[in-house]
Amino acid sequence: MSTTPFARALLVAALALAAASTAGAAADHRSPRFHAAWMEHFAQQRGPEQTDRVTKTFRVGRTAALELSNISGDIVVTGGPGEEIAIEATKRVRGRDDAEAKQQLSSVSIEAVERGGRVEVRTVYPRMSNNRVSVDYRVTVPAGTSVDVKSVSGDMKVTGVKGDLRAESVSGEVRAETGGQAARVKSVSGDVELTGVSGSGDVNVASVSGDVTAKNIKCRSLDAGSVSGEVRLIDVDCERSQVSSISGSLEYAGPLQKGGRYELKAHSGNVRLALSGTTGFEVDASTFSGTIRTDLPITLKAAGEGRERTRQSLRGTLGDASALVVIKTFSGDVTIAKR
């Protein structure tokens, strides 16, 4: 086939234009605005949201247990007076049309059973279906209830509960304010925040990529960690603490206990220990390429008893040396200060 120079120029121009618009679209595809517009378009294609509300109430007494498992949707648990566990589950879905949405909603059921003061709740999906229903839960419980909530996707909030707490999500934030004695609060990709444990139990707070914050915690042992998030422990008073992160920074603020053990380890994150109270301690701090700073009058170990004070290492004691502090970071800085 023969073409004129004009036709060839037109073809080249058209191809260039097509290439440019494709590149533009690819760039836009990564923008939040594009994503939001796409989601809106998708939602319109799916039709308006349909909901179905389910409520169940169990009389359980002042001390009970709640176990709730969910796949997708937010969970809010609130402790208060009273002797009942009240569950409100709201199923949500967008279907191609009303009939499809209703069919999807009805295929998901909320199972709730009570055995001897223990209420077990779970969302049950039909097997082998492409169901898009999410379920939000709002649950009120007597304050003394032990709470165990798990979700694959969705945020969690627990407040006013004085029983033991376990709250775990794969993808979602977890926030808990509790007066209980022990708590385990975890997420894979969300932030985790725990406030107000008070007692002699164990506390575990962790996330893979989110930040981890624990405030006003009094417990026997505290284990806190993240891979890439920051770990902040504020006003914590524990007998043993193990705190770790790979790239996030670590902050520990609070008193030490006599005979207590405190270990803070990071790879590239900075480590800051801000001490209140008067408990003496022995410290072994080291960093490979960062620096160590302290404004405390630490008595250095005598030469020959190990590493003394260098830019990257500090070994010594303060006061009665009754607690032990081990700090290690590979490339981060270490700060030990009075709070």
Partner: protein, 253 residues
Amino acid sequence: MGVRPGLTMDCKDATEAIGALLDRTLTPGDQAALDDHMRTCASCRVLAADLRRMHESARSLPRVKPPETLWPRIASALDAEIRSSPRRWFGVSPWMLAAAATLLLAVGGTLLLLRPSTMFRPSRPAATATQTAGGGAAGAELAQSVESELREAEQHYERAIAGLEQIAKAEQGTLDPQVAATLQKNLAVIDQAIRESRAALQSQPASELAQESLFEALRRKVGLLQETIGLINEMRKGNQAGTARIIQNLNKS
């Protein structure tokens, strides 16, 4: 360990002394101080009994070295399985995970013996390969032996990681894309830590901190990969309870 003459032993000193007792390096003076302390301290008595039991159990274990041909056999079996039937991975996962777990146990055991926790041995001097040598032939031999055991342990980790990575990649489509991206991003963070620790060890082979940092990062990577695989498995089965159980173990190691 050296309790100051005339002073009584506290729990921290006692913890050190118990370690020294098990290592048979406790001096008679410290032994007497430890005995005095344990007469009045139940928690240290329990600790001593526990550690003695662990010590005796560890000593009675046979020192098992996997045959040289084990890993190549596992690796080739993995290759063949994934090539021939990538979608049937979960059908054979217990076997593969068991193999990986065996390797990890071997590594864990080796490291446990090689690197006692700093929490129990705070005053241990910074022993380095060159310092340990101290000029003597026996010291040099010991340093070489420690170095070679560390290298061996690292190789076990690397093999375990390679196997786990292969498994995780084969079925990662099962995970929610956002969760998969999060896990990948964090594995990359750990990989960076491994690279940095290795580079540090090349420039300062005797650095205890660089060694610790490398093994800590390897351990975290193995833990995250294991949990990633567990999460894939549970999500594939749609098992909520199992998924949640996996989450609770995430980041633990």
